[in-house]
Symmetry: D2
Subunit: 397 residues, 4 copies
C-alpha cells in the first residue's frame, strides 16, 4: 500500500468569530489559507465557534464558513475553552465591550477598524490588553499590501531623502445615492464618525507607517445627504431601503478632508469620502521626498510607482515596479511578478502576521496601540472641524 | 448550553490532486474557498490524496495543502475509492496518460492547459470522456474572469454590432534572461510548443469565447534564446541554473504571433511570448465591432472598458466599467464594485463552475472538447509557421 | 497670368510685447497663428514693438519673434501710436505699473498671471481699466482648454447634479533641487507668494469657473528648501546657479495646500507645489457632484473623463471622452478627435478669445476682474496660513 | 528716439503650397513658427503662392494662411521665380506628376505621405530628385517626435540589447460609420491602398527607424464596409454624404495587419485601421529587446516608457520618462519637461529639419528615398495579402 497518511504537526489554534458579515468571511478565508499559501504556518486554525446576535445569521455563517459551533451569545463564544483567539467583526460600538471581555478571559483579540468609537475607548482597550499580556491586532488590511511593505522599506533606506509631503485618499461612492438606507454607520453613537472613521482610519494608519506620527490637523467635513430612508435590514450599506418610511437624519460625515503636520516636519492632506460619485473604490497614496517619491493606487495593486531623483538625467522618470517575490509577502502568492493580489488575500497576509506574532510572542504590526493612536488623530480632526482651526493631536506616538 | 453544533448537509466530493506545484496550490485553494466565498456549494471537498513522483514533494504538498494522504504513484491516487474527481496539474506530457486512466476509472477530470501535447491526443482524451460520460474541465482560468463573462454577455446582446477584429496578447518576461535554465517547458516532446501552448492557449480560448471558431491562421515564431543552461531542479521556470553545465538547445518557440480569420468573417491576431522583456504579466484583449468595442487587461482586473457608438455625440468615449455584483461571479467576493480579484480567486470561480456542472449533470464551460478545439488552432499555427503560408484549422467547432 | 494677388481685408491690430521670455514667445505664437488655425480672425496682428529692460534680449527677441521695432524702455512701446494692445509678460512686480500706464494711454491690456503681487493692486488695475473702458485679459491659459470648456458646459446643464467637491492640483518639480538658484520668484516683494501665486492661481481660476465663488479657505504652506544659491542670470527657474556665492533665504512658499468652501456650499481643496519631486508638470481637477463627476489631467489634454450616475447599471463607469470638433475650439486645430493640443496652442485659443472680445466690444472670459478675484482668494489663503484658522475671502464675486 | 528698427539677416525662402486642406495649414504653421519657436532659423519663409484646383479654395486658403498669391494651376505656382520649395499636400495620385515637375524646375520638394500610389512611382520620384540634386522630404511627422528621437538614440547606444520584436499600431475610427461618404481615399486608382498606405506608412517609417530594414511580410486585409454613399464635397473623410445617391464600392482596405521579419532577425507586426471603433486616434509602438524595452503612445506624447533589465532587482520596472529639454527638439518648445507637444508642432520640428538640411546641403531624415523604401514594404504587404503567404520586400535598404 503506497498511500501514506499525513500527520500534521502544526499546532492548533481555536478561533471564535464574533460577527457573521463580510469581514467574518474575509477573516475566516485568511485563517484557512495561510498554511496552503505560505507552504507552512505557525498554527493550523480550529474554527471553533461563530457568534451573531441573530440566530439565523449565526447558524448559516457557521455552516458556510466551516465553524464547528454557533451561538447567539458572544460571551459563550469567548468562554469556550477551545477558543484561543477572538475575532471581532461587529459594528463599531460593540468592539469595546467584546474586546474587554475577551482580554479578561485571556484570549488574543483581532478586531476590525476603527478600533473604537472614541479615542478614550481605544486607549482603554489597548491598556487592558497590555495589562493582561494578550496579543492584539487591528484589521488595517492595507498595511499588509506588499506595495506598502516595499514603500516602508524604501522610506527606511532613505532612498526618498527627507519626506516632504504625503497625500492620501480613500474615497468611494457607496453612499452617493440619497436612497441608500440609514444603517448603523450613519448613527454617531453606534459608529462614531462617518467616512472619517470608516475610510480615513485606513489612510491614517498608512500615513503613520510611511511618514511617522501626525502632530496637528485641520479638517473640513460635509454631510451632503442630510437624511436617508430607514433600512429594512440591519447591517451595512447594502441593506434595502424602506422608501415609504420617514427619513432619518444622518449624524456623521459623508466626506472629510484634512490638512496635517507630521512630527517630522512633513505635511500633507487626507481625504475620505463615502459619496465620491463615480469612484467605487479608490485608495491612493503619494509620498514626496527631497530625493524621490512614491505613488500607490490600491486598484493597481500589482504595482508601486517609484521616482528616484538620482537616475541618469535622460532616463529619469517614475518607474512602475511590478511587485513580485522580491517584495514582502507577495511571493507567498506567485513566483513571478505583476499578478494582482485580491483584497481577501491581503487578509491572508494579515492573518499570517497575526499567527506569526502569537507564535513569536511579539506585538504584531498594527496592534491595539496603533489602533488607539489612529483614533487620536481621527478625534483631533473632529475637534478641528468643530473649532474651524488647527488642533494638536492628543498623543501621537 | 447555547453553543450549537453545526451539521453540514453539503455532500462530500473526494479530490485527488496529481502534481504538487503552483497549480496544485491554486486548485486546492479553489476547492477550499468555494463554500465560504459563495455562501454555499454543491459539494464540500474532501482532500483525499495528493500524488507526486517525488516523495518529498508529495509529502510536503499534502501536508501544507491539507490532504489526508500522499503517494508517489498517481495510479494509486486515481484508484482510491474515496476519490471522485482527479485534478491533473503535472507537466503537459503526462496529461494524456493520467486523464485516460482517470476516465477509465470513472472519475471526473479537471486538467490544466494545454490539454495535451498534440491535438490528436487532446481529441482522444475528449472522446474517451464522452464515451464514459464523466465530466471534464480544462484550467482556462481567464475564461472565469467576471470581465470576460460580461464581455461575452455584451457580445451576445449584439451591443457591439458585427465583430470585426480581435487582438489578444499574453506576454511575459519570465524567460527573457538567457540564463533561465532549461526546464521541461523548453522540450518539444514534453511540452509541445513553447509560448504558443503555454500562453497562447489562454488567448485562443478567450478569442473563441468572444468571437467564435477560428477558421484559418498564419503565424510567425521565434526562439530568441537558442540554448539554455541545465536546471538543477526539475520543474518550472523558477529552478536554479547550473551555469557550469553544457547548455542545451531550446526546442520550441519563445514568441509566436499569428494572424487569424474567424468563421464569422472577423479577423485578428494573437501574440504569445515568454521573452517580452519588461512585461512580467500582460494579458489583454481588444474586440472591435461595428457598433462598439471592448478592451480588457488582466492586470486591471477590476475593470472592463466598453465603447458604444450610439452614446450621445459629445459624451462618446470608452467607459471604464468597474466590475461589481452586477457582473457574474464578482458578487461572491465583494458586495461593492471595483475591487481587484486575485488570480487564485479566479480558480475559486473555476471550481465553482466545476462543482456546479457536476451537481447539475451538465458540461462545464471550458471542457475537454474546448481544450481539444483550442489545440487544433495551436497546431494549425505551428503548421503555418513551418509552411510560411495561411493554413486552415483542422476542425474549428 | 493666373497668379492672383491676395488682398486681405482683415483689419490690423498693433501689438506691443513687454518682456522677452517664454511667455513673450507663447503670446506671439498665439497672435501669429489665430487666423491660419481658425481660418479667419477679427484682426491680423501687426507686431509693432517688443520691449525688454535688457537691450540684447529686446533686440534678439524682436528679431526671432518678428517684431518691427525694439526698445529697452517699455514706456516708449506703450506710447507708440501704431500700438493698440499691450501684452505684459514681465515678472509679477512690474505688472501693475505697466498695466496702469497702458490703460492710461487707452490701450487694451493682456497680462500674465498672477495679475499683481497683492489683491489691492489687482483691484486697482481692474478698476482703472473699467474707468477707461479698455479691454483686459489675464493669461489663465488652462481656462482655454477645450476640456475645461466642455466641463463648464456640462456643469451648466446640470448633468452632474449639485456640485459637492472639487479637488485641484498644480504641482511640478522645477524647484525640488536645492541648487536651483534664487530668482525673482523666490523674493516676496517681487513675486508675492511662491507656488501659491505661480501655480495655485491657475487652479483657483479653474475652480471658480467650474464651481463658482470661493467663500472661505484654510491653508498650510511649507518652504522645504530654506536657502538657494544666487543666480547668474536674472530670470526664471532655469538660470544657472552660482554655487560659490552665499546662499539667499527663500521668502515664499514652495508648496501650499488649502481647504476651501464655495459660496454654493460645495467644498474642496487645492494643492500647489514647485517641489513635487517626480512630477514635472501635473495639473489636474476632479469635480464630484450628486449625479455625476468629472476628471481632467492637463497632460492627457486630449481627453475629459466623465461619469454619469444615470447610465445603465451594468454599463456605469467613467467614460473617456476624446475631445474633438464637437468641443469648443478644438475644431480649429483638427477635424477629428483625440489629438493632443500643445500648450502654446492654448495661447492661440486665448488670443482668439482676446481678439474676438475686442472686436465684439465685450469683456473676455478671464479679464482683470477675474484676475483680481483670484488674487483675493490667494491672499485669504496666506492670511489663513498665518493665523492657522479658516478665514473668509474678502470679496468672492 | 529709443524705438529701434529690426533688420533681420535671415535669408528668405520662397514657398509654394500645392493644396489647401488640413496639411496645407499644418505645413504653413510649421514654416511660420520655426524661427520664433527655435529662436533662430536658417531661413525665413516667404509665403509666395498657394495653388488649388478649386479657385475658391485657393483664394480663401491663401488669404487665411497668409500667402501673397493664389492660383488654380499648380504649374504656375512651381514656375514662379520667387519659389524655392514646393510643398505637395494634394491627394496621393497627384504627388508624382507635381513632384516630377517641381524637380525638373530645380525646386526642393516636400511631399505628404504616402509618397506615391505605387512603389515604382515612388522610386521614379526619388531617382529624379537624385539626378537633379534637389532636396526632398516626406511628411512622416511622427519621426519628428522627441520621444522617437530619444528611442532611436537609445537603440543606437545598445541599451536595449538585441532588438527582438516591434509591434506598431495606427488605428482610428474615422471610417467606422458606414455612412462616411466615398472620398478619393477609398478609390484604389487615386489613393492606392487604404488604411495601409494612409496610416500604415507612418508605422513602417517608425519601424524602419527603430529596427532597420524589413525583409519579408505577410498580411491580412479587410474591407468591413463594402459600399459607401457618394460625397457631396470632394475631399477628405469629413465631407458630407449624399445618402440618397447610389452607394459606391470601396476599393481598398479598411484594416490591414501584417507580420514582418526584419533584416536583423527581429520580428513583429503592424496594424493599420480606419475602422477601429472607439479609437479616434491611436498610434503606438512597443519595441522589445534582450536587455530592455520601449513603449510609446502618440496620445501620451509627453512621455516615453523605458525598461532597462539591469536596473536593481527590487526597483526594476518600466519608467515613464517625461520628455524635456534633454530630448531632441523638445527644448525648442518648453524649458521644463512633461508638456504635451501638439501635432501641428511636430510639423514645426519637421520644417526645422527641412530648412536645416537645405541650409546644410544634406539629405534630411525621411527623404524621398525613405518614402520609396516604405512604399516597397507597403506593396509587399499587398502582394502577401493577395497570395496568402509570406513574400520578400523588393528592396529594403
Amino acid at each position: 500500500m503506497t498511500l501514506h497518511n499525513v500527520r500534521s504537526e502544526t499546532p492548533r489554534l481555536g478561533v471564535a468569530m464574533i460577527g457573521s458579515g463580510l469581514m467574518a468571511k474575509s477573516h475566516t478565508m485568511g485563517y484557512r489559507n495561510v498554511e496552503g499559501m505560505y507552504g507552512s504556518s505557525p498554527y493550523r486554525p480550529h474554527f471553533a465557534v461563530l457568534a451573531d446576535a441573530k440566530e439565523n445569521l449565526a447558524r448559516s455563517g457557521a455552516e458556510s464558513l466551516g465553524y464547528g459551533r454557533w451561538t447567539a451569545d458572544w460571551r459563550e463564544a469567548i468562554a469556550a475553552p477551545e477558543v484561543d483567539v477572538v475575532d471581532i467583526v461587529t459594528p463599531n460600538w460593540l468592539h469595546k465591550e467584546i474586546a474587554l471581555a475577551a482580554i479578561a478571559a485571556g484570549k488574543h483579540v483581532y478586531c476590525e477598524k476603527p478600533l473604537a468609537v472614541t479615542a478614550a475607548d481605544a486607549r482603554e482597550m489597548y491598556e487592558a490588553a497590555e495589562a493582561v499580556g494578550v496579543k492584539t491586532l487591528v484589521g488595517f488590511n492595507y498595511l499588509r499590501n506588499p506595495a506598502i511593505a516595499e514603500a516602508r522599506r524604501l522610506v527606511g533606506t532613505g532612498a526618498l531623502g527627507n519626506i516632504w509631503t504625503l497625500q492620501g485618499r480613500f474615497v468611494l461612492d457607496a453612499c452617493s445615492d440619497a436612497d441608500v438606507p440609514f444603517a448603523w454607520r450613519f448613527d454617531r453613537k453606534l459608529a462614531g464618525s462617518g467616512a472619517l472613521g470608516d475610510l480615513g482610519a485606513h489612510v491614517v494608519a498608512l500615513a503613520r507607517a510611511l511618514a511617522g506620527p501626525i502632530s496637528s490637523v485641520c479638517g473640513l467635513s460635509r454631510t451632503f445627504i442630510r437624511t436617508r430612508p430607514a433600512a429594512t435590514g440591519a447591517f451595512g450599506y447594502g441593506s434595502d431601503a424602506d422608501l415609504g418610511a420617514p427619513r432619518r437624519e444622518v449624524e456623521n460625515d459623508d466626506a472629510t478632508t484634512f490638512l496635517m503636520e507630521f512630527a517630522s516636519g512633513a505635511s500633507g492632506h487626507i481625504e475620505a469620502s463615502r459619496t465620491a460619485t463615480g469612484r467605487p473604490y479608490h485608495l491612493s497614496i503619494e509620498l514626496i521626498g527631497s530625493k524621490g517619491s512614491l505613488q500607490f493606487v490600491q486598484q493597481d495593486i500589482h504595482t508601486l510607482r517609484l521616482y528616484l531623483d538620482d537616475d541618469a538625467a535622460e532616463h529619469k522618470g517614475y518607474r512602475q515596479i511590478e511587485l513580485g517575490p522580491a517584495h514582502g509577502d507577495y511571493g507567498a502568492f506567485w513566483p513571478f511578478p505583476g499578478v494582482p493580489i485580491g483584497l481577501h488575500e491581503l487578509k491572508t497576509i494579515e492573518v499570517h502576521e497575526w499567527l506569526s506574532a502569537i507564535a513569536d510572542d511579539r506585538c504584531p504590526d498594527g496592534d491595539f496601540k496603533e489602533g488607539w493612536l489612529v483614533s487620536e488623530v481621527l478625534e483631533a480632526v473632529e475637534r478641528s472641524v468643530a473649532q474651524r482651526r488647527w488642533v494638536d493631536v492628543e498623543k501621537s506616538s
